[in-house]
Symmetry: C2
Subunit: 324 residues, 2 copies
């Protein structure tokens, strides 16, 4: 079971390897939000997203024998890069299974981080079959993107840092907004904050049309999205909360907040102008919630986790063109 | 005289107010440079540039009476915002004298930070005359952008942080590259490093056509630029090194490095892609030197100060379009 103790142990293993990312702010953002806004800039984490933490926690928890055989991940995105970089640093082989129509730059980057990329045809091949065959043949350990105890523990270290950094500013009460896909980060952060900053309320934040966690929390049962593609917030499009993450979210989180794609683009432009950080749409959803959904919040301080910055330059330019 | 003791005292006054900005890195940048590259991300400082440090150091060194009367600065850029924000936090009035054809957004931002903006007509009015009259009438203290002991001391705190952060990574020898206009930051950083990391060599970095410091160091005499406009690196266009800064630079710095505008744009795009930070052209000059001028460096580690991120979205989009 995912526990505070597991997060604490993961933090020890991540020390000196993951970056303690800064908590940024701007009076201009406070004015828009009508409250103090603090932004936990995980886009500045190694590989450009918080996923490096989960990858490191998973790799560092393996036995030497498991590590020498290597790990497997399915991802064309931030999880792939996080696992690849963490595996390379642990001298562990990493095999990343990606669709062959994934953007060339993502395939190139994942390979450059030292991973072996295995491509498959979405139309004719079964990803899980390919992965299972590879795992069995080579003895690889699967690192899931969110429904994995160690991954949740690694992402939870973001929550430990938020508690410490907020306390240093004299802040113990806050709405904490987290960009939410499968819920690994949100679950980890909420476990950490329940222990270290119990007066903070964690809100999962999602894009319109992909509000499975918000609906699941509202109904008390796992709800699914109608589709898993078709939003610019590609980093956080998952079919439903996970079997491990949902019971945690249900027990620890406040209500979800849903933002539009335009609000995400607007938040990206404001992060550019006011904080000088680069966010991808899925990484800007929590900041968008803090800025544009004041009615969903009840505390004088909002802490938004800016989860990642691996964005296509064309989409970034679109955000600047619209709102820069 | 600017001394290490003054920097140390400034650091005490800045503690808890200026951000200790992170030292970022990416294996992709190391590959380009052929050495380890560390980027001191001062674009993440309050007001988007290191200038906040000098502003804070100057404001916090005033007597209560001086503070209550207020300060004056000439600037349409980063120094204006740094002084305005520092003055507001010290409850001191700030008057910023700006040309009336300065970009509207800069005027708006400076006012929003609490300063009174006094506009003048470059063609028909004398900026120094206007400032001197205001200063005398109201008893304002002038805060110069670089030729000021306290400003140099404040900027020097960047050097203290570099020494500490590098040491934590086991690094004591490095080429340190600093974007250089009038030389306030470069002077402060080099004084700090001479004391705290004497095996580091500080290189002022400048854009082509505005290499007054490089030429001055090379000849041993203050050289001037032919013009003070006409480069996208607007943040660091000054006529010549200062009367206070040049003797320091001459005594403490290694040779200057000159980069092209295209190299600055390329460095901006790589900072976007690999570090997820926003740099303005003048703030990317040192990173450009680290990446594209390996022959000018002699150590296995290059530490580049990314000085600011207050960039026009159109110029940023141009960098992404060319090199993103």
């Amino acid at each position: 079971m995912s526990t505070f103790a597991a997060i604490s142990k993961a933090a020890d293993r991540l020390a000196g390897h993951a970056r303690c990312t800064p908590l940024l702010s701007s009076p201009f953002l406070d004015d828009i939000a009508g409250r103090q806004v603090l932004v936990k800039a995980e886009c500045l984490q190694h590989t450009g997203s918080f996923k490096f933490r989960g990858g490191w926690a998973a790799l560092s928890a393996l036995t030497p024998e498991q590590r020498s055989k290597g790990v497997l991940a399915y991802s064309s995105g931030n999880h792939a890069q996080g696992v690849a970089a963490a595996a390379a640093a642990h001298d562990a082989p990493a095999v990343i299974v990606m669709p062959q129509d994934a953007p060339a730059i993502k395939i190139t980057n994942t390979r450059a981080l030292g991973a072996e990329v295995v491509l498959y045809d979405r139309a004719t091949e079964d990803r899980d079959r390919i992965g299972a065959d590879l795992a069995q043949a080579r003895g690889l350990t699967l690192v899931k993107p969110y429904d994995d105890e160690q991954v949740i523990a690694g992402q939870g270290t973001v929550g430990l840092e938020i508690a410490d950094q907020a306390k240093a500013l004299g802040i113990t009460e806050a709405d904490v907004l987290v960009c939410c896909g499968g819920g690994g980060l949100t679950a980890g952060v909420s476990i950490a904050l329940k222990e270290r900053a119990p007066d903070m309320a964690v809100h999962p934040c999602e894009p319109e049309g992909f509000d499975d966690v918000t609906r699941s929390l509202s109904t008390g049962e796992i709800c699914r999205n109608a589709t898993t593609s078709g939003s610019i917030c590609d980093a956080i499009l998952t079919p439903s909360p996970g079997d491990l993450t949902f019971p945690i979210l249900k027990q620890t989180c406040a209500s979800g907040i849903v933002v539009t794609e335009d609000e995400a683009l607007h938040a990206m432009a404001l992060a550019f102008t006011r904080l000088k950080i680069v966010l991808e749409p899925g990484g800007a959803v929590a900041l968008a919630a803090a800025l544009f959904h004041p009615d969903a919040l009840s505390m004088p301080v909002a802490i938004a986790v800016a989860t990642g910055g691996n964005v296509d330059p064309v989409i970034f330019a679109e955000a600047l063109g619209k709102y820069g």
